[in-house]
């Protein structure tokens, strides 16, 4: 019986009645109750999620700090690919993210970014992948990344400029963020749950210690 359960939990298996992610699907906590509910429990592992928005530095990485801390606590690696700035790891460490688990990868082209992301997702040591794309990319490369993500147990986050929303994408979920009065406002452009159907934005306040 347990073997069957394991099989049914496999991320590659899609069951028609489960439009929303199953409640016991592996997730990383997002640290925010409403966001957890909207995402179906937390940041889903084994999915590719696009976060669209600009400019860099509005709190769209701080949004993920609870996930990164949980990932580091569990001993998984965090891949940071082509970030626009250098991570300030003493700050990350104070927030509970072990710096020795953070792997920094510099690339010159978006193609290399996607390739490196795919390679990292194929390695079971990684729990979270953060990658930044600078411009438009081929859909075929994104599809490869999605495939690698769905076969992995990592949560792949792809930061893209806001104009990428016009281009269709094979990502599991697409969220658009924009700075709001207190924190971030998140719109779900694509997703499986009721949040995507409702079309309502979600206000995520700054974490209290900021």
């Amino acid at each position: 019986m347990s073997a069957l359960d394991t099989l049914l939990d496999h991320p590659a298996l899609w069951r028609g009645r489960s439009a929303a992610p199953a409640t016991d699907a592996p997730v990383w906590p997002s640290g925010h109750t409403e966001l957890d509910r909207a995402l179906g429990g937390g940041w889903p592992r084994g999915q590719l999620i696009e976060l669209l928005g600009a400019p860099f530095g509005c709190g769209e990485t701080r949004l993920l700090v609870p996930m990164l801390a949980a990932c580091g606590r569990d001993g998984y690696w965090i891949a940071v690919i082509a970030p626009p700035a250098t991570p300030w790891l003493p700050g990350w460490q104070t927030l509970g993210i072990p710096p020795e688990r953070v792997l920094l990868i510099h690339t010159e082209h978006d193609r290399d970014t996607l390739w490196a992301g795919e390679q990292c997702l194929r390695d079971p040591a990684f729990g979270v992948l953060l990658a930044w794309l600078r411009g438009p990319v081929e859909t075929a490369l994104l599809r490869r990344l999605r495939l690698a993500a769905s076969e992995s147990r990592a949560c792949a986050i792809l930061y893209r400029p806001p104009n990428a929303a016009a281009q269709p994408s094979p990502a599991h979920q697409r969220l658009r963020w924009q700075p709001a009065a207190s924190g971030l406002e998140l719109h779900c452009l694509k997703g499986a749950g009721h949040w995507a159907r409702s079309g309502h934005p979600l206000q995520v306040p700054e974490p209290p210690e900021a």
Binding site: C58, Y76, T86, P99, T107
Partner: protein
């Protein structure tokens, strides 16, 4: 009860024991088989175990070595001669096309050229062949610890009596040895017998029979013609003159008579053949380094074409390291050009020797390389060899859902570095200086895990920002949220770099990480809050 000493049982009931054993398949025989009385009297010397020798003849060693470096198989279809020039030009080896046309090894070169139509000629290099043979001896060390190469006969002897059970019987062992050598591109002829001399003989005669006891060995050797024995010409003539044709004829004669007529060396040979007299052979000790080179017959201009010879080298390295029972984590490839060398190093996260793991890595790495000139040779070196990693503790494969091992680097790092370059992949190390722009140092050497360092109090005073950029002058913020003050100290070399850190939101919505220099009152941007 039930376990009397075997010799005594053999002495009291010799026949039943032997019959019982002969019903068993060869592989099922226990290693210390009971010795029939005959051998006991002949070899009273202390031989506590049953030696079994595997002789591996490599008659085509020169051609095999040539084919390994030759990427163009069509060239080998044409007649080809390996020529030795000392003392007179002579054919050392001829490939199949040349042999079909009538050329034979040992022929004078002039005669061979008369029967062949413009054959390819290759210089015979005995040193290279010896190196190849020693390389193969190193490879064969995985089957036994007693390996003895005989370079002048192009033969390797391996004692397999003690390792046969480990490999599932003597026939399975022979097949494995043959497969190993064939995979490396060699064509062995293997003979197995209780004595090195008999094994040599059977290998030369391509006789696949395996003699488990002296009686069987006698039976197998009896029909062997006397011409096949390594005897002096005079002795051979003498034997022929008295009408002896086969080894069996010789074995039926009385020993004193033979010794008197044909000299003691004939008896010595017979004793060695029938394992009545032990033959001590020195053990081969391989050099404890990995240094393999390959000379290319044709120049290679594109990196993609290098994969073929490189695969050969990696296979060879894998086999050799398996024999040495060592592993490695990094290796260096030296590409020889006409005038210069290109050296490329590759390092992996975990030690390993498998060709199918290393070859894709090298291919990715070589894709980045542009060759300055044509490649004429390859050399593979390993700076240090490691002990092989211990087998995993768990019997079952690791569950992918379980957390990864703490001290192990992800295996993907080697691939990333091979394609993106060594500098592209890094971890950031805390240098424990408070000023954020100097506090971190990228570390590209990923093999060693740094000790986790806690952030210093000075670093904590700067706040828990997420992103760092070099300080840039910035406009004073409207409503700064003060974070803390960084005092001066040993780290600023007397520059009075006291700073008040703050974060604030700019008009675009960005959360900036700022500081005010207390000396000048100027605001700077240190990075982004998140």
């Amino acid at each position: 009860m039930g376990q009397p000493a075997r010799p005594s049982r053999a002495a009291t009931h010799p026949e039943p024991v032997r019959q019982q054993l002969s019903l068993l398949p060869a592989a099922a025989l226990p290693a210390p088989a009971p010795r029939p009385p005959e051998t006991q009297t002949a070899t009273r010397d202390a031989r506590p175990r049953q030696e079994h020798w595997m002789a591996i003849d490599l008659p085509h060693l020169a051609l095999d070595a040539l084919a390994r470096t030759e990427p163009d198989p069509g060239r080998l279809q044409r007649p080809l001669l390996v020529v030795e020039s000392d003392p007179a030009p002579r054919v050392h080896a001829a490939n199949r096309a040349a042999r079909q046309a009538g050329a034979r090894p040992g022929m004078a070169l002039g005669d061979a050229l008369a029967v062949l139509d413009t054959p390819e000629l290759v210089e015979h290099a005995p040193d290279t062949l010896q190196a190849q043979l020693e390389m193969l001896a190193g490879v064969l060390l995985r089957f036994s610890d007693h390996v003895h190469p005989e370079p002048e006969a192009q033969r390797i002897l391996v004692e397999v009596g003690r390792s046969r059970r480990l490999f599932g019987g003597i026939e399975a062992l022979r097949d494995q040895a043959r497969d190993t050598l064939t995979e490396l591109g060699f064509h062995p002829r293997i003979g197995l017998a209780r004595s090195p001399a008999a094994a040599r003989l059977l290998a030369r005669l391509r006789n696949p029979a395996i003699a488990e006891d002296p009686e069987a060995l006698r039976r197998i050797l009896s029909p062997v013609p006397l011409e096949a024995l390594p005897l002096a010409a005079a002795t051979r003539e003498g034997l022929r003159a008295v009408g002896l044709r086969q080894l069996g004829d010789l074995l039926r004669l009385s020993r004193p008579e033979l010794a008197r007529r044909h000299g003691p060396e004939l008896l010595d040979l017979l004793d060695r053949l029938l394992a009545r007299r032990a033959e001590t052979l020195p053990r081969f000790a391989p050099p404890p380094v990995l240094d393999l080179s390959l000379r290319l017959e044709h120049e290679i201009h594109a990196t993609a074409t290098l994969a073929f010879p490189l695969k050969r080298l990696l296979r060879q390295a894998e086999a050799q390291l398996r024999g040495l029972n060592r592993s490695l984590q990094g290796m260096t490839l030296e590409l020889a050009h006409r005038e210069a060398y290109t050296r490329i190093s590759l390092e992996r996260g975990q030690p390993g020797i498998r060709t199918d793991e290393w070859l894709p890595l090298w291919q990715t790495r070589l894709d980045r390389e542009t060759l300055p000139a044509a490649v004429i040779g390859l050399r593979l070196q390993a700076p240090r060899l490691l002990d092989p990693p211990a087998r995993g503790d768990s019997l079952l494969a690791a569950d992918p859902a379980s957390r990864p091992p703490a001290d192990q680097l992800p295996a993907v790092l080697a691939r990333l570095r091979a394609r993106l370059g060594e500098q592209a992949v890094a971890r950031l190390i805390n240098r424990r200086t408070p000023r954020p722009e100097d506090a971190q140092r990228p570390r590209h050497d990923l093999a060693t895990t740094p000790a986790p360092t806690a952030s210093t109090p000075g670093q904590r005073a700067c706040g828990t920002a997420l992103w760092l950029q070099g300080p840039e002058p910035a406009a004073p913020p409207d409503q700064p949220q003060w974070l803390g003050r960084l005092e001066d100290g040993w780290w600023d070399h007397g520059q009075d770099a006291r700073r008040d850190y703050a974060c604030s939101r700019d008009r675009q919505g960005r959360r900036l990480w700022l500081y005010r220099c207390l000396r000048s009152g100027q605001w700077y941007r240190q990075g982004y809050w998140g």
